[in-house]
Amino acid sequence: TTRTPEFLGLDKSSSLLPASESVNEVVVGVLDTGVWPESKSFDDTGLGAVPSGWRGACESGTNFTAANCNRKLIGARFFSKGYEATMGPIDVSKESKSARDDDGHGTHTASTAAGSAVDGASLFGYAPGTARGMATRARVAAYKVCWLGGCFSSDILAAMEKAVVDGVNVLSLSLGGGSPDFYRDSVAIGAFAAAEKGIFVSCSAGNAGPSSMSLSNVAPWITTVGAGTLDRDFPAYVTLGNGKNFSGVSLYSGNSKGTLLPFVYAGNVSNATNGNLCMMGTLDPAKVKGKIVLCDRGVNARVQKGSVVQLAGGAGMVLANTAANGEELVADAHLLPATAVGEKSGDAIKMYLFSDPNPTATILFEGTKVGIQPSPVVAAFSSRGPNSITPAVLKPDMIAPGVNILAGWTGGIGPTGLAVDDRRVAFNIISGTSMSCPHVSGLAALLKAAHPDWSPAAIRSALMTTAYVAYKNGGKLQDVATGKDSTPFDHGAGHVDPVSALNPGLVYDLTVEDYLGFLCGLNYTSSQINTLARRNYTCDPSKSYSLYDLNYPSFAASFDSTSGGPTTIKYTRTLTNVGAATGTYKATASSGSAGLKIAVVPDTLSFSKAGEKKSFTVTVTGSAMPASTNAFGQLEWSDGKQTVRSPMAFSW
């Protein structure tokens, strides 16, 4: 990716980052649509021999042989038996029955996590710079599990099984949609086994935001990643015939003449009831030819709307957000001059369209702008808490860059993914929690290299407790969906800060035993635990299992709004000293609500050696509140140099 290394501070901190030899040993496995091995992001120049413990392979198939792998791309497997069992044999004229990526998504995620540095990268000149993965020296293993018809759980399980056996250190899954029950969810099941073997598993939180309780991949042994913006934008302005300007975004590659053209609303140049959406075949070419068309966002793909306008003879498109998307602007590499505008601008433009007898407009493309503030802001599409399955575990865990991310792309299709798009690009700019997840996967690879003895939970703790929730000017992280402060239900512990995560001081660690106790707390039966964790495990009937005692780096709960009185929850946590041998940390708990009282005992922890563990309790008392009330707080442990911060989130 371009810009995200700078945005995350990776460019200025080479002395703090792990030595390249240790990162060389880390393998990031990516379960996705495969990989385009010819991408320069998988150039292996300067990389040493493949890690000695690596047991993976490069499987041959359609347009893919072992020769496509190298010392960067060290594994490439495909899993299609489950897909073919349901969908029938793969038509190799439409998709490669191999690890070759015909879609682009897998190449994008793999190169984001661990792609080599590529100078002179851009998409049609947009987002120029040196594109690199987060862990440029780490190795990549691609496991293709997603096909034209979707990603099937039997294939996902088979791929996770192979990845574990192959010896990956980090698994990155930018997909979701499983069952709410962990023991039915193949990703949660596979991730449990992976975590047990010391493999860090990061997953995308989902793109179902800004609705609350819209998360995917919420098992506590998974690191769940939401999406935020960068400080980069691609402005493209709409100028109306009345002289008014509205800002939008676009990745359109051609030039604009800058002359005013006739401007129409799609709903007025179509006989279809949903003509405003610019669905395929709904626009009347006689009324569209040579004009700029305003289409409303929703239902069909954004880039397809542009194609529909182009096919109808339109000269340009303004894509207007509706209430569902608010002011979030996602840039696309449209086939015709086009720009996306927010709901407010869209409404204002429509007012002009409906009131002026001869409306005109032009679109001006301004290229790439960096330094946009505030940034990051939580993306509207990023899925939100509360965690509907286990409210005691706050999800997402954190956010990372996921909006307008440039990374490697397949040579198989154009940047829009449309069949009519015959352009081919080495890099593409796309958005989603799919893009934020591999950022964290790559950063986890860096942490793994720096601290080979850390467990996946310790790595996640380091990433979470050092994440930030305020801008440098002190303002709180914003949510583009509301234009207001974001909350832990939106950003989890905050935006990832990898340089701080390298040296967190203390971590909240977790073992498989802790997760099994958590499953007992969920009242799972022995059979359900065996299904998920592959072992006979009986919860001790004499023991009281509390979900609040899972040693998670955040605190959450759902209070009963009908209880009529205050509710008290007691959490127990243990911190492990991974910093200097000695240190005294003081607790500071704060709440943004009068309805919350937080007490920490003891409020001072003194460590006298590395690896030492110290426990404490947090008692949270929530007043009686109406249903749907949310309240937030935070707990910080600080020795004056390092601060270990945990978010607190409560719902009624």
Binding site: L157, E161, V165, Y183, A194, R534
Partner: protein, 82 residues
């Protein structure tokens, strides 16, 4: 609908494997054959799951679920890229 085959993931309790079987794969295969003479195994799992995936009718899935050593027979789920 009862005769329509779909993919199921069958979770097995490996500790309950009868002594007569020398390898778990044989036990999985035998379990599948006990409910269907024609069903094909798609994958056999042994690292992240103990069990296998196969195309089964709902009736076969129900029969399999009732057998000793079977923990769960779960319909396949489809996931989406994010």
């Amino acid at each position: 609908q009862q005769q329509e085959r779909r993919t199921y993931i069958v979770h097995m309790a490996k500790s309950q494997m009868p002594a007569a079987f020398q390898h778990h794969a044989h036990w999985y295969d035998s379990s599948l054959k006990s409910v269907s003479g024609s069903a094909q195994m798609i994958y056999s799992y042994d690292t992240v799951v103990h069990g296998f995936s196969a195309r089964l009718t709902a009736e076969e899935a129900g029969s399999l679920e009732a057998r000793h050593g079977i923990l769960a027979v779960m319909p396949e789920l489809r996931y989406e890229l994010h």
